[in-house]
């Protein structure tokens, strides 16, 4: 079930990425939906799953970008693993902390990408710092919004289930 959810999320990310690029060609510079999918999986604290999710999402991103194959795959794999390990150690509840986790993941990915580009594509033109900041901000906000929405939905469902399961009290 979790794997199916992940695949569905990845497919939605692909469609949104393509649609966003059609509307605004600079969309991929400001938003990385594949990283978001990997980070959302990593939040559960399962390093192996997060790593594979990061790998898959990164390779898909590589397929859609013109860069060398494996660039995003490497970065997302590493970030997914790192965030999953961090999630094992920390219990994050506050919104600011949660946003900071997503922001840190995005920043780490950007740093890894920059390092890889320097090594394997010395002449490559890197995105400007404003785009790096934009990507970090959008990842943090989108991740926070998605997490809160899912929590609210799950809470509502749980309350409904609890209401139905309430035992009948007989008059004394």
């Amino acid at each position: 079930m979790a794997f199916a959810k992940f695949l569905a999320a990845l497919a939605v990310a692909v469609l949104l990425h393509l649609a966003g690029t059609r509307v605004e060609p600079l969309f991929p510079l400001a938003v990385d939906l594949f990283l978001l999918v990997a980070l959302l999986e990593a939040r559960h604290g399962r390093p192996s799953g997060a790593m594979l999710a990061g790998l898959a999402a990164g390779l898909v991103a590589d397929g859609l970008t013109g860069g060398p194959y494996g660039l995003f795959g490497f970065a997302n794999t590493a970030v997914g693993y790192g965030v999953a390990r961090a999630a094992q150690q920390l219990v994050v509840q506050r919104s600011t902390s949660l946003a900071a986790v997503f922001a840190a993941g995005a920043a780490a990915q950007q740093a890894i990408l920059a390092g890889l580009a320097l090594v394997f594509r010395p002449g490559a033109e890197l995105a400007g710092p404003e785009w790096l900041l934009a990507k970090v901000a959008t990842t943090a906000l989108a991740g926070l919004a998605w997490t809160r929405a899912v929590e609210r939905l799950a809470g509502g469902l749980a309350r409904r289930r609890a209401g139905r399961a309430k035992p009948m009290e007989l008059p004394k």
Binding site: L15, A19, R22, P47, G63, Y69, G73
Partner: protein, 282 residues
Amino acid sequence: MKPRWTRVLLAVLLVGQLFLLAAQTPARGGDPQTLLASVTLRLLGPFARLSAATGEAVRGAREATRGRAALARENRRLREELLELRRDRLRLAALEQEATALARGVDFARESPWRLRAAEVVYLDHASWLKTMLLHVGPAGARLDQPVITEAGVVGRVIGAAGGYAKVQLVTDGAAHVGAVLERARRQAIARGAGAGRMTLEFVPRQIAVEVGDRVLTAGIDGVYPRGIPLGTVSSVAPGSELFHAIEIEPAADLARLSFVYLIERETPPAALRSEAGDGLR
């Protein structure tokens, strides 16, 4: 999965991807498209196509909606234009009819032996029991008993005038009498209005041969109408009494479709003389 194996897997994945990246560096030359990249491209191709098709469909639907709205606007504009053109055509047809009538009237007035003055019909009451007509005769006015005719024949006589307007008694009015003559038989008689657009011809002896279609003209004996103006045609002849025919006349002028008429400018006998002669022909 145990943490140790997870770390091993991570290392394998990262190293593998580093090799992959290294294999694609430009220094190595050759085709940078790897098998994995090719497979991924094939898998992602349909998504890209779906996205493009969806975008095209949305754009097409938007353009279709815009096109429909533009067509509706154009249709509305064309309808309004069509209505305007129809109104113009009706106006032009009315103007043409009026111009034709005026031209006919000008010809008639030029060839007429009398001095004529055109007058515009502003009100026509030939439906009620009193058959009258109101004329706009202009600043010259009109005088009592002035004959009113069209190019087709007699219309009536002025029975009242005020300012630039004149009231006319039609020849079909029940109180109207006109001195008449049967053109073919040369027999004088009296034509009297019978209402409902008809007239009768009285005092024609049964010895006189009268046929349907015979023309009736003014006789010029009543002191109002000059001689020889068409009054009508005989529409029916029947034995009225032992002495006279019962003859019906259809007026020569179409009294129901008058827009312009003519006043005959002609001196009439003084009223005193007409009274002495017995003004029974009115």
